[in-house]
């Protein structure tokens, strides 16, 4: 399992790559994609939509399940990764390249962990 050092992580398994103090990219972690299995579709918001820390902004579908993806920041969607709409398998294949949205005008970041802390969080969750 991969936990890149340059990213921040939410406890609900989203990664955040800060672009600036008020903008960032958000995606789903390696741990999450592994737990969810083969993803077959992703529902993304539209550019301009507001996102709120702790609230769902997208969902991912596997064959027999659907799971919400929560925003780790509060801001507005600047761009979505349209490639995922046609090739959701990118999330399984390279989760840290398969960003979901780029958020701008960020007013607040949620509680975010560094790579080491997130790895520990995953290990604890697995042992549950």
């Amino acid at each position: 399992m991969n936990f890149p050092e340059n990213l921040l992580y939410s406890k609900s398994h989203e990664w955040v790559e800060k672009i600036s103090d008020t903008s960032a990219r958000v995606g789903l972690t390696d741990y999450a994609q592994d737990a969810l299995g083969d993803l077959v579709f992703v529902n993304l918001p539209e550019p301009g939509d507001p996102v709120t820390d702790g609230e769902a902004f997208a969902d991912v579908e596997s064959v027999k399940a659907v799971s919400d993806v929560y925003s780790p920041v509060t801001g507005a969607v600047a761009a979505i990764n349209e490639e995922l709409l046609d090739r959701p398998q990118l999330i399984n294949e390279s989760p840290y390249e398969a960003w979901f949205v780029e958020v701008e005008e960020i007013e607040a970041f949620g509680e975010l962990l560094d790579a080491a802390a997130y790895e520990a969080h995953c290990r604890a969750e697995q042992e549950k």
Binding site: D38, V40, F41, S62, V63, K64, P88, Q89
Partner: protein, 479 residues
């Protein structure tokens, strides 16, 4: 196997219609389509063989044991098909003058009276075409009732987390907010959780009883009282009525509205996914809101009437009428005594099969079950890596339709069996031997179960590929 389009030969056809015996009058060309639809061109023998081959690749109730939990796959009597095909039913236009359709109205009125007696309801509509459609209808009745009383604050429907997925989906469709409450481990309602959830915003509660773990909720009278005292109404999801016909009536349990699946409990065939009938029965509070029209006795015969505060229509005409014909034949054949006998034997068969499987497939709950039961293969999976899915797929090789899998969600590696009353002891003994054989094989040869099925027309399908790049129609251009 080839698709019907791949068997098509240009210029081939069946001789079905006569030459035009009046002057030919083409449509004004500005309204005409550019190209004809690419429908297959076949002879009648091609067609007959195509569908005979397809029928060979289907497992119906008449092909073998079908213990699909929550679906009540009982035998569908032959008589019903004959009656539904009578020209006196099948050849009647829905908008004929009422004096020419008295027999149809009688079917609806008689079926309504009998089913109201079975459920303890006042009136019934047959307009909903399936169980989910009935749920939507019943919830719209609840909504109309609260609105009629001027109580706009009741916006929430309470649904236990062990409920069928249709319940919360129907509540959303009817414009309600869904409040999920946790169930006790046996799937029964957690009374404390219910008490905490009800309030002045409660429109109602949706409940299946017996619940989705196959247990009759012994607190049912308290449950419905809690909701009523909070000002809400109780909705009975009739999916599991096959356990309690003539044994306990939803109306007596405290329910205000009920939907029935005539295609489950009342033995009308499923047709590979419909047509069904989701008849909705209403108690005194909700009957005035039922959809229109409704057949009722009038002046020595029958006539359509519109309930005084009707929610309108949920479908064109009067519902899946021919399904009601079959259900009426079933009820008349069994009678009151036969209905309770059917339920009692459905429960006996489930308990008997459960007992035979118990040494190998532990039940999710202890004690007597109703018409269905859930086993958990969590330990088997841990010990052998064989999943509930593998076991289900191996059953296909034995000619048994698998039970419902991975439901209810509160049980891990769940298999839900519903044998129904129309299976014999011999069938149950045989099926139990097959299934326990599979479970024993899990320890010795798990790989053979991962690879199952191997005798079916096709192997396990790649569902991920199907969903990632959907191919939903035949592409002629790939020829």
């Amino acid at each position: 196997m080839k698709l019907i389009f791949e068997k098509s030969v240009p210029g081939r056809c069946c001789a079905l219609l006569p030459a035009c015996d009046v002057p030919v009058r083409p449509l004004e060309s500005r309204f005409a389509r550019k190209d004809p639809p690419r429908l297959p061109e076949l002879s009648e023998v091609d067609l007959s063989r195509h569908y005979t081959a397809l029928a060979g690749r289907v497992h119906g109730v008449n092909d073998g044991f079908y213990p699909l939990g929550s679906c009540t796959m009982k035998y569908n009597p032959a008589l019903h098909e004959e009656l539904a095909a009578l020209p006196g039913f099948a050849g009647v236009h829905p908008l004929q003058p009422q004096h020419t359709v008295q027999g149809c109205l009688e079917v609806l009125a008689r079926a309504e009276a009998l089913l109201c007696e079975v459920t303890g309801m006042e009136q019934m509509t047959f307009q909903p075409a399936a169980g989910a459609h009935g749920e939507l209808t019943g919830l719209l009745l609840i909504k109309a009732y609260h609105r009629d009383r001027g109580d706009a604050a009741r916006t929430k429907i309470i649904v236990p987390d062990s409920a069928h997925g249709t319940n919360p989906a129907s509540a959303s469709m009817a414009g309600f907010e869904v409040v999920n409450i946790p169930s006790a481990p046996d799937g029964c309602v957690d009374l404390e959780a219910l008490r905490a959830a009800v309030g002045p915003d409660t429109a109602g509660l949706m409940l299946t009883n017996p619940n989705t773990l196959g247990l009759f909720d012994r607190n049912i009278l308290q449950i419905t009282r809690i909701v009523h005292e909070a000002g809400g109404l109780n909705y009975y999801d009739g999916a599991n009525l096959n356990a309690v016909m003539g044994v306990a009536r939803p109306g007596d349990m405290g329910f205000d509205v009920v939907h029935l699946n005539l295609h489950k409990t009342f033995s009308t065939p499923h047709g590979g996914g419909g047509p069904g009938s989701g008849a909705v029965g209403a108690g005194a509070l909700l009957a005035p809101f039922l959809p229109a029209p409704r057949a009722a006795a009038a002046g020595g015969g029958y006539a359509f009437e519109t309930p005084p505060k009707s929610i309108g229509t949920v479908k064109a005409f009067y519902g899946n009428f021919l399904v009601v014909v079959r259900a009426l034949a079933y009820i008349l054949t069994l009678g009151g005594d036969g209905l309770s006998e059917a339920s009692e034997n459905a429960v006996l068969n489930a308990n008997y099969l459960k007992a035979l499987l118990a040494p190998y497939a532990p039940p999710a709950c202890a004690g007597v079950c109703m018409h269905e039961f859930v086993v958990t293969l969590e330990r088997l999976k841990k010990e052998t890596g064989v999943t509930a899915l593998d076991v289900a797929k191996a059953m296909l090789d034995c000619g048994i339709h698998p039970p419902t899998m991975y439901f209810p969600l509160i049980v891990h590696e769940a298999l839900m069996f519903e044998p129904t009353e129309t299976e014999s002891k011999e069938t149950l003994d045989w099926a139990a031997a097959q299934i326990t054989g599979i479970l024993r094989r899990a320890a010795e040869d798990p790989q053979s179960l991962h690879a199952a099925p191997c005798t079916t027309p096709v192997g396990r399908p790649d569902e991920v590929a199907a969903a990632r790049a959907p191919k939903l129609r035949y592409r002629f251009d790939t020829l």
